[in-house]
């Protein structure tokens, strides 16, 4: 058992445990902090799989930007964790049953899959030079379209989140 195996198992336990913490903790702020830990563990997995650029992007975009946005919104709303009523027992039972059946299907699929040996040659396809070359030659059109998507998402967020003064006036009347 070399250092990669130890790191893999450690990161896997951290990722799965923190993901369970996200969906099981009562307080939304605890959920956000668990989610940040999960993202860091997944970034560690990316580094183990020689995807260094994606690891850095994951930390910057997810743990840096999206999670700060989540924390900001939660603290803006000042939610209290105690008012969260439970769903009915039938819905819980249906959720557990469907999740268990799906897990069974996944287990059967991985059991019947042909096990191949991975080539353990060191690769450098995750480096930023190789990714950038492919991104700006082969995938340049989706890249530009994603910039338009970002622009429209930004305008949409501003328009949705803007206060509408005339609406409140009509409500008050």
């Amino acid at each position: 058992m070399d250092i990669f195996d130890i790191l893999f198992w450690f990161l896997s336990f951290v990722a799965v445990g923190c993901a369970l913490g996200v969906i099981l903790s009562r307080n939304p702020i605890n959920s956000v902090l668990f989610l940040i830990l999960t993202f860091f563990a997944i970034s560690g997995h990316y580094i183990l799989m020689n995807a260094q650029f994606l690891a850095i992007v994951n930390i910057i975009v997810y743990a840096g930007a999206i999670m700060v946005l989540f924390l900001f919104v939660i603290m803006l709303m000042n939610l209290n964790a105690d008012v969260e009523p439970q769903k009915g027992r039938i819905v819980q039972f249906a959720g557990v049953l469907s999740g268990g059946v799906f897990f069974l299907v996944l287990l059967a699929a991985t059991k019947s899959a042909a096990s191949q040996q991975m080539v353990k040659t060191p690769t450098d396809i995750g480096l930023i030079t190789n990714l950038g070359k492919v991104l700006f030659t082969e995938y340049v059109l989706p890249f530009e379209i994603s910039s338009v998507l970002f622009l429209s998402a930004m305008i949409g967020a501003i328009v949705i989140g803007k206060k509408e003064p005339h609406l409140h006036q009509t409500e008050a009347r």
């Binding site: 799989m49 919104v73 998402a153």
Partner: protein, 77 residues
């Protein structure tokens, strides 16, 4: 069962990240670069989606003073 809309959004992020992890491991397995670019575009779409979704949640909180999704089922009636 959770009914908080923010928790539901975080779970969507978690699912997107699981797909990302699977794609990166496929990329390592087959020594292919295209999967990592797919992961890049998934991250782009997730970021845009979170911006719009959180704006919707903030607007909903401003209207009904709650982020409980069961309050939002009035479209059904």
């Amino acid at each position: 069962m959770r009914r908080n809309a923010i928790i539901i959004f975080m779970c969507i992020e978690l699912m997107l990240n699981s797909v990302n992890l699977l794609l990166v491991s496929f990329s390592r397995f087959y020594n292919d670069i295209n999967a990592q670019l797919f992961v890049f575009f998934i991250m782009v779409v997730a970021a845009a989606e979170v911006a719009v979704g959180l704006a919707v949640i903030v607007m909903m909180y401003r209207k009904v003073h709650s982020v409980d999704i069961n309050i939002l089922n009035r479209l059904k009636h």
